[in-house]
């Protein structure tokens, strides 16, 4: 094989390598899929608090997820304006917790998650006697807070 041919082959191989260098990353990097709109960047100003169900019977356990909060911040959970616990938001500004309604009366309750005055969101749940018992989705974890101040007493077994 002449020297010129060898060089030509080397150049073709190098050209192919350069052109395909970015393509080899395709299996490892996700192509952007979300539309680029103002909603993508408005989240910082509007934290969102979502719940897995908005209605359930007393005794239900509701699973709340908050997003678009300041990352790594201590957030307070309020039920009808009363502080009942705290969670820390993760690096993306999300946090989740469970609200146990054991012993709570029927009616509407406002659940709020707030890191500061400018980052606060509220979600309502309705407790209806005779309704279905709501349970958290599989794998749901997080701090559990109670609507009513429930105290668990130790069980002392008599000899």
């Amino acid at each position: 094989m002449s020297e010129m041919k060898q060089e030509a082959i080397q150049r073709i191989l190098l050209t192919l390598f350069i052109l395909s260098a970015g393509l080899v990353l395709v299996p490892f990097v996700d192509m952007p899929a979300a539309a680029i709109g103002w909603e993508l960047f408005a989240g910082v100003y509007t934290p969102v608090l979502e719940v897995n169900a908005t209605t359930g019977a007393p005794g239900s356990v509701f699973y709340f997820t908050g997003s678009n909060y300041p990352p790594g911040s201590l957030a307070t959970i309020y039920i009808d304006g009363r502080p009942v616990g705290t969670v820390t938001t993760d690096g993306s500004g999300a946090a989740s917790f469970l609200v146990n309604t054991l012993g709570a009366a029927s009616g509407a309750y406002n659940v709020t998650l707030e890191t500061d005055i400018n980052a606060s969101a509220t979600q309502s749940i309705d407790l209806v006697s005779g309704g279905l018992i709501v349970t958290p989705p599989p794998g749901a974890t997080g701090t559990t807070v109670f609507v009513n101040g429930v105290i668990f007493l130790p069980i002392i077994q008599a000899d």
């Binding site: 539309a35 103002w38 707030e114 005055i117 980052a119």
Partner: protein, 510 residues
Amino acid sequence: MVERFLILNFRNRTNVLTVKRMVHRLDVTAVAAFALPFVLYAFTLAPTLYNLDSAEFTTAVATNGLIRATGYPLYLLLGKLWSWLPLGGDMGYQMNLFSAFNGAITLLLAERIMQQLGVGAWARLAAVGLLATAPYFWALSLIAEVYTLHTALMAGVILALLRWAAAPTPLRLALPILLMTLSLGNHAATVLLAPGCVWYVLTRHPRLLRRWRTWAVGVGAILLGSTIFLLLPMRYAAQPVFNYAGQYDAAGVFQPANLQTWDGIWWLITGQTFAGQMFGYRLADVWPQAAGFGVQLWAAFFAIGVGPGVAGALALLRRDWRSGGMLLLMFLANAVFYINYRVIDKNTMFLPAYLIFALWVGVGYQLLLSWAVQQERPFPARQLIRYVMVGAVVLAAGFNWRLVDLSEDWSTREQAEAILRLVEPDALVLGWWDTAPSIQYLQLVEGERPDVTVINRFLISPEDMNRLILTEINRRPVYINNPSIELLQRTTAVAVGPLYRLEPRNPGPK
């Protein structure tokens, strides 16, 4: 009669020749670099007012108002001139089109820069095409924003420096200096270009700096360019109805920053309100941000441009370390600064880095094409590379269209109109960027609901806002997005569209 016919015939022939000469002189590549993206942007442009910063910029331009830090006086001035053109549509549409124009100008200038760097027409167009269809470059060419004007000025600075280097005179150096200073009046991030520019001037023709004329012309250019900042005190003096340079107090009275003092101007143009976000990550958190930038760059150049871009950067450094070093410094300064900038919309701020990378892609493509010259037989490598280059642009346009197309997006106007329909007379509305500026646009530009008072929560401290609400709630209807717990403890919130109406909480048992 015959004489008249001959004269007319001569005139027509002369006209035809003139047109032919003009067409001949016309650089088709340059025309395509501007016109094709501009048409693409016009098709996908937001048809009316857009949200967040866009609404703020549009309202400020329309009302001769003032914007938050860093003031953006050049944008306000050029936007005003642009709005006088008979373009049709509402003010929102016109300012969106201004971004499209600036995006297309950026691409035209990028094409000219690549020509200066010895890149052939095919490679130039292919590289420009990838930048034009990069998701964020495309998206920011469709809404009123300062970024495409920033990249257009940046490309102008680079091109002016390259032309100065080819025929160095003090007067030619004045142009990039003037453009840099003017560009500071559009975006403070222009300072990130300074290391590259200084490097280039110092390494290319250092002797020129020993001449007093160079310094005199340079200082003159800076002084001339700085006059753009005079717009801020002038507008302040006119007491604009739309003013985001200041703060509301607890009584709901706006206290504008005094832009007729040096302290006031300096506070505004240096962006001190955003100083906390600069270099806002701990060292351990920087790596994911850098990786995120890498992914953005990869997606911007549709994967296929990555290899040629890196190859082009290396080739340019090897061939011409002065201009290669200038571009590398500009790229690194922008990338490093914004990787470390802790804001949610940082992905919109990497356009200067993308512009530099596109220039490298052009150089890289040209490298591949020149390698292929000797291999026409039996393997048509050159032709194949051209197909790949063009194919990448077509695929990127097709793939990214669905991500960026705003041609049917009326959401901002609809949301603002809905809020103004829902709120009661003389209401006080408190919202963020996604709520307040768009309502103010409808009020101040289109004359809707002047009875409603709108306050952007960015312009009032949380404590003052709560005090204001608790005072005003007994006097008039008060609406807010996402009330805090302190407010919820003292008021009742009733959802009204995207807002909550706050009502005094009645004392007594629940």
